[in-house]
Every structure is written in structure tokens, then in C-alpha cells.
């Protein structure tokens, strides 16, 4: 066992098991349940053989503990084999099936994808790359995925066909989803930062504000969206001109407001926690240098607390990307529209068309924000 990476052994076992699971599903049309097809039944052996060999080689390269670069290469080979099989397997399955046939990745594909992705992450964490390297890697991976989608190699897949028939709706849903998630983040930051700074200085305000914000968080997200509808339709009736700027009981506005209210507690709480990170001695020194409180705030407390503040914004962003899906339930648009349409029609690919971009967006934002948090962390702390 010496020299073997224990997670690598786990990946090899799971990966080998997943190779025997159905890799793709072939269905006669968009709605009916399909039949699962094992890897080696996708196409002729000269097509499936190289793909399977690549994945086996990848799993084997993941075994040596002392060679993280080898493990990364193994994960990359495995992913390449996976894509190879997906692209060529889909084409070959469709060639033998009827006009309305649909192919989609099945459990085996998803399991292998998870195994190789985790293998990559595990090997990377052994190298503990710095923020710049991680950012470069993120861009590289996104570029590769983008190129794969752009090339049209995946256009045989069922989800790509759902996308093709809804291109415009997809782009406007994407814009709306981004607008909801990032817009509410921005609004929460604009409101929450000053509130946090003020309540840092003013204990009375802090005692009054935090229970209110905590109370807002106990409202379940679904109910929050629901409560905003009548509140906003009342507002749009009472305030002249409100309707003209888009404040209405349905659509974007209630979803946006619900997300913003939901985000205030993490922002304010993390601003407070961040401002408290400045060591007493440092503050004493700043005071001794004759800094005003405004100078202490902008030159000492905020820079030192920035990572904690950003960590709060990360929580909010990831949370809002997920919660924005619920907007689809109240006509607020975004990827939730596809998710709930798909659920109603039990059309799995439509669900995927809404859920996959949401998951991808959440993951990318989390990784990017983590990098940002690390960049802003003072060096001495990072080495601890």
C-alpha cells in the first residue's frame, strides 16, 4: 500500500464500478423514458476502445501518492476519454435510431465526471496553488468547456437540442438570472456596508438591527418571495410612477427585493466581524499616530477586515444564485423558468437546461470569490 494515494485507490474503485453503469440513455423521443446503454454498446470497439483505455489509464495514474502532477495528468486524460466517448457515442447512437430520438448522458457518465473532477481537485490541493495559479486554471477550464460547447461537438445531445429550440429564451433567462443574483448582491452591499460600519460604532444600532435582520433570515425563502408580491403591488399602487420604473407585484421586482432582504444579514454580520479583526494593539497604534476614526476605518480596520467582508459577499452571491431559481415560480424569470417548466412536463433535459447553468454559475462564483478572499488576506495570516 505504501506509495499509493488512499483517495486515488478510492477513485480507481469508484471509477471502475462506474464504467459498468449505463453511460448514456437513448430515448425514442423527448418525453418517454429511455433505455440505458453501457459504454461498450455505444459504438464500434475501435471508437469506444480508445475512450475506455484513456479513462483506465487516467484512473491508474491517479494512484501514486507522491506525484500530484501525474494525478492531475491522469484526471485530464480521464476527462478527455469521457468527452471522446460522449461525443462519438452520441453520434453513433443517433445514427442507428429514429428521427425524433434523443440521447443524453446517464448515471455512468455523471459518476465518472464526478470521479475525475474530484481526482483533479484532490491532486491540486496537494500542490496548494496560489491564487494566481488557481485563477489561471479556472480561466483555462472555462475556455476548454466554452470551446467544447462552441465547436458543436455536443449538439447531438438532448440538452443541446432543448437549448437550440430555446436559444433566445435561454439568453434572456441568463441575463435575468445574472441580474437577480448580482444585482441583489450589489444592492445588499450598498445597503449593508454602511449599516455594518455604523453598527460597528454604535452598539445601540447594532442591538436593534441584528435581531431584525436575523428575523428576516428565519422567513423561508419561498414565503419571502410570496410576501414581496403583495407588498410590491401595494407600493406600485400607492407611489405614483412606481409602475413606470418596473416596481410591480409580479416579475423581477419582488424576486429582487426578496433576495436583497435575504442577503442583508450575512453582509452586515461579516462587516461587523471583519471590522473586529483589527488587533487592539494595531488600533491603539493608529490612535497614537493621531488618526481620526475615519482614517482608522479606511486605512486600518477595513483593509484588515476585507477578507471577512468578501467572505460574506461570497456566501450571499452563491446563495442568491441558487435562490434566484425560485423566481421562476413567481414569474420572475431566470433559469428557474426552465427548471419548473421541465418539472411540470417531466422533461428531464429541460430541467437540466435550467439546473446545470445554475450549478455552474454557483461553482464558478464560489471559486472566484475564494480566490479574491485569499488575494486580500494579509500575508502573515495566510502562512499560519
Amino acid at each position: 500500500m505504501a506509495g499509493l494515494s488512499p483517495p486515488g485507490v478510492l477513485f480507481a474503485v469508484l471509477g471502475l464500478a462506474a464504467i459498468f453503469a449505463p453511460f448514456m440513455t437513448l430515448a425514442a423521443n423527448r418525453i418517454v423514458a429511455g433505455e440505458g446503454r453501457a459504454l461498450w454498446t455505444l459504438a464500434a470497439p475501435q471508437i469506444t476502445g480508445p475512450g475506455i483505455a484513456l479513462m483506465l489509464l487516467g484512473l491508474a495514474l491517479g494512484l501514486p501518492a507522491a506525484r500530484p502532477f501525474l494525478r492531475i495528468a491522469g484526471a485530464a486524460l480521464g476527462l478527455a476519454g469521457l468527452v471522446w466517448l460522449l461525443v462519438l457515442g452520441a453520434a453513433s447512437l443517433l445514427a442507428e435510431a429514429g428521427d425524433y430520438a434523443r440521447v443524453s448522458p446517464a448515471a455512468g457518465f455523471w459518476c465518472l465526471l464526478v470521479v475525475f473532477a474530484l481526482m483533479m481537485a484532490d491532486a491540486l490541493s496537494a500542490l496548494s496553488p496560489g491564487p494566481a495559479a488557481r485563477a489561471g486554471l479556472l480561466v483555462l477550464v472555462l475556455a476548454l468547456i466554452g470551446a467544447l460547447l462552441w465547436s458543436g461537438a455536443l449538439s447531438d445531445l438532448s440538452i443541446a437540442q432543448e437549448f437550440a429550440s430555446r436559444k433566445d429564451a435561454f439568453y434572456s433567462a441568463s441575463l435575468r438570472h445574472l441580474g437577480l443574483a448580482f444585482g441583489s448582491l450589489l444592492a445588499a452591499a450598498v445597503i449593508g456596508l454602511p449599516l455594518g460600519v455604523m453598527s460597528h460604532r454604535n452598539a445601540g444600532l447594532r442591538r436593534a438591527l441584528l435581531p431584525v435582520l436575523s428575523f428576516l433570515q428565519t422567513i423561508p425563502s419561498l414565503a419571502m418571495f410570496g410576501i414581496m408580491i403583495p407588498v410590491l403591488s401595494w407600493l406600485s399602487g400607492v407611489i405614483p410612477g412606481a409602475r413606470a420604473i418596473g416596481i410591480a407585484g409580479i416579475g423581477f421586482a419582488p424576486a429582487f427585493l426578496a433576495l436583497t432582504l435575504y442577503s442583508l444579514l450575512p453582509v452586515v454580520a461579516n462587516v461587523l466581524a471583519g471590522l473586529r479583526t483589527a488587533p487592539a494593539a494595531t488600533l491603539e497604534a493608529a490612535r497614537g499616530m493621531g488618526m481620526t476614526w475615519r482614517q482608522r476605518l479606511t486605512r486600518v480596520e477595513l483593509p484588515l477586515g476585507l477578507p471577512v467582508v468578501l467572505a460574506g459577499l461570497r456566501i450571499v452571491l452563491v446563495q442568491n444564485i441558487g435562490l434566484a431559481v425560485i423566481a421562476g415560480l413567481i414569474g420572475g424569470g431566470g433559469y428557474g423558468t426552465f427548471v419548473f417548466q421541465g418539472l411540470n412536463q417531466t422533461a428531464g433535459d429541460l430541467i437540466l437546461l435550467g439546473a446545470l447553468p445554475t450549478v455552474a454559475l454557483a461553482l464558478i462564483s464560489a471559486i472566484a470569490m475564494d480566490i479574491l478572499v485569499e488575494v486580500t488576506t494579509p500575508r502573515t495570516e495566510r502562512e499560519e
Binding site: 494515494s5 488512499p6 483517495p7 478510492l10 501518492a65 448515471a107 474530484l118 481537485a121 484532490d122 490541493s125 496537494a126 428565519t218 422567513i219 423561508p220 425563502s221 419561498l222 414565503a223 419571502m224 418571495f225 410570496g226 410576501i227 408580491i229 403583495p230 466581524a273 452563491v318 444564485i321 441558487g322 435562490l323 431559481v325 425560485i326 415560480l329 413567481i330 428557474g336 427548471v339 419548473f340 421541465g342 418539472l343 417531466t346 428531464g348 430541467i351 437540466l352 435550467g354 439546473a355 445554475t358 450549478v359 454557483a362 461553482l363 464560489a366
Partner: protein
């Protein structure tokens, strides 16, 4: 103390009334119902929805606790330390995947009903428990551990009799966080036909009946607050008994 006790008792009484005698609240919610529409949700009994809601949360959080604490024990032993980065990655991803998306993605595999909700709540709840369990198990007082070794306890005995009891208050902080999030998030499960209090809220959303939204929201909110409170009390009691420092406000 007596004041917070009184507030607590009032909340419990209010929640019991809302769950057992929803009709008492018809006058309260009536202004929010559409003209001539129903005020109180009647398609299912609130009690059975509440029980099913809490049951789902308990099952998902129980499983998450078992897995997260098990993983934390594994990675804090020398033999399992190699799995620490992997466990971190998995629990982090569990909380980064939006629960609504997980729910939707699980439907093709598990069908409509409780299954997808269980998966979503389980994945979402892993991270806080795992992180606090690691913190609890890796910050044990060295003198105590030395003493445990000194009196000849085996590894297993040390884990069961010393490490886990000492780490328990800290782990409870994570469990509390996870359970409270799950209580709110479970409502979303009703979009895929899980029986939760979310059913009431969704009925309200679909028929533009704010009375339903409020009724469901208030009950779920009260459950969350009271469970949070009960687990905090338990934590304080355990901490005091073990004579350990309070877990602190940083969790």
C-alpha cells in the same frame, strides 16, 4: 432569564395553536386573502404537514450528522488524514450546489416526492457539521489527551469516552446551523411534491393568496426559531457540564 422564558413559552403556545387549531387564526389572516377566497389552508392538515416536514428535516440532518462526523473522525486520525482535502472539497461543493438545482436534478433519478428533498437537504447540511466537528476534534486540550493516553485508554476508548464528548458542544453548533437551514429549505421540496409546509406557501403563490403564504411562512419561521433556541440551550447545558469554554461567536 424569566423574560426570555416567557417569550419562549409564548412562541411555543403560538406555534401549537397555529399547527393544531389553524382556524383560530382566520381573522388574523383574512385581510391577506383574496376577496371570497379561502383564508386557512384546508387541503391537508397542518399537523400532518408539520410532522412530515420535521421528519424529513430530522432524517436528512441525522444522515448528514452521521456522515459528516464520521468523515471528521476519519480525517482527524493519522490513517485517514489523506482524505482531508477530498472531504473538504465534497462538503464545500455540497453547500455550493444550490438546493433547488439539486432537487430538480434528483427528480429524474428518484422521482417526485420526499427522495429529492432528502438528497438536497443532506448535501446542503454536510458542511457546517463537518467543519465544526473537525474544529472540535482537533482543538482538544493536549493535557486531557495526554492523561487519557496515560491511563491506558485505547484509541477507540479515547475517541468514545474523551474526544467525542469533549467535542460534542462544538459539533452541536454545526448541527444547529445545519438543522435551522434545513427547516427553511425543506419548504422548497414541495415544488417536487414532498409533503412539507412549503405546500401551503406554494398553494398561496399559485393562487395569489397571501394568507396561505403567511400561514405557511409563520409556522416554518417559528419552528426554525424554536429549534434553534432549543439546540442552543442544549449546547449551553452541555458546555457547562463539561466545563469547556463556550464555542464562541465565530461559528
Amino acid at each position: 432569564m424569566s423574560r426570555s422564558g416567557a417569550i419562549r413559552a409564548a412562541c411555543v403556545a403560538l406555534l401549537l395553536a397555529l399547527v393544531l387549531r389553524p382556524h383560530w387564526f382566520a381573522p388574523v389572516f383574512a385581510p391577506f386573502a383574496p376577496a371570497g377566497g379561502p383564508v386557512i389552508y384546508e387541503r391537508a392538515s397542518i399537523l400532518s404537514l408539520s410532522l412530515s416536514h420535521l421528519g424529513l428535516v430530522a432524517l436528512a440532518s441525522g444522515l448528514a450528522t452521521l456522515v459528516a462526523v464520521g468523515l471528521a473522525i476519519l480525517v482527524t486520525r493519522p490513517a485517514g488524514a489523506a482524505f482531508l482535502p477530498l472531504s473538504r472539497t465534497i462538503t464545500n461543493i455540497g453547500q455550493t450546489f444550490p438546493p433547488v438545482a439539486v432537487l430538480a436534478l434528483a427528480v429524474p433519478a428518484l422521482g417526485f416526492g420526499a427522495g429529492p428533498t432528502l438528497v438536497a437537504l443532506f448535501l446542503y447540511g454536510l458542511l457546517p457539521i463537518f467543519e465544526t466537528a473537525i474544529a472540535g476534534l482537533s482543538t482538544l486540550p493536549p493535557a486531557t489527551m495526554e492523561a487519557a493516553r496515560g491511563i491506558g485508554l485505547t484509541r477507540w476508548q479515547r475517541l468514545i469516552r474523551v474526544e467525542l464528548p469533549l467535542a460534542l458542544p462544538v459539533i452541536l453548533t454545526g448541527i444547529r446551523l445545519s438543522v435551522v437551514i434545513a427547516i427553511g429549505t425543506a419548504t422548497v421540496g414541495s415544488t417536487v411534491a414532498a409533503r412539507t409546509l412549503g405546500e401551503v406557501i406554494i398553494a398561496g403563490l399559485l393562487t395569489s393568496n397571501t394568507a396561505f403564504v403567511l400561514q405557511g411562512g409563520v409556522i416554518v419561521g417559528l419552528f426554525a426559531v424554536l429549534v434553534y433556541d432549543a439546540l442552543s440551550l442544549l449546547e449551553t447545558a452541555l458546555t457547562r457540564r463539561l466545563g469547556r469554554q463556550p464555542a464562541g461567536a465565530d461559528t
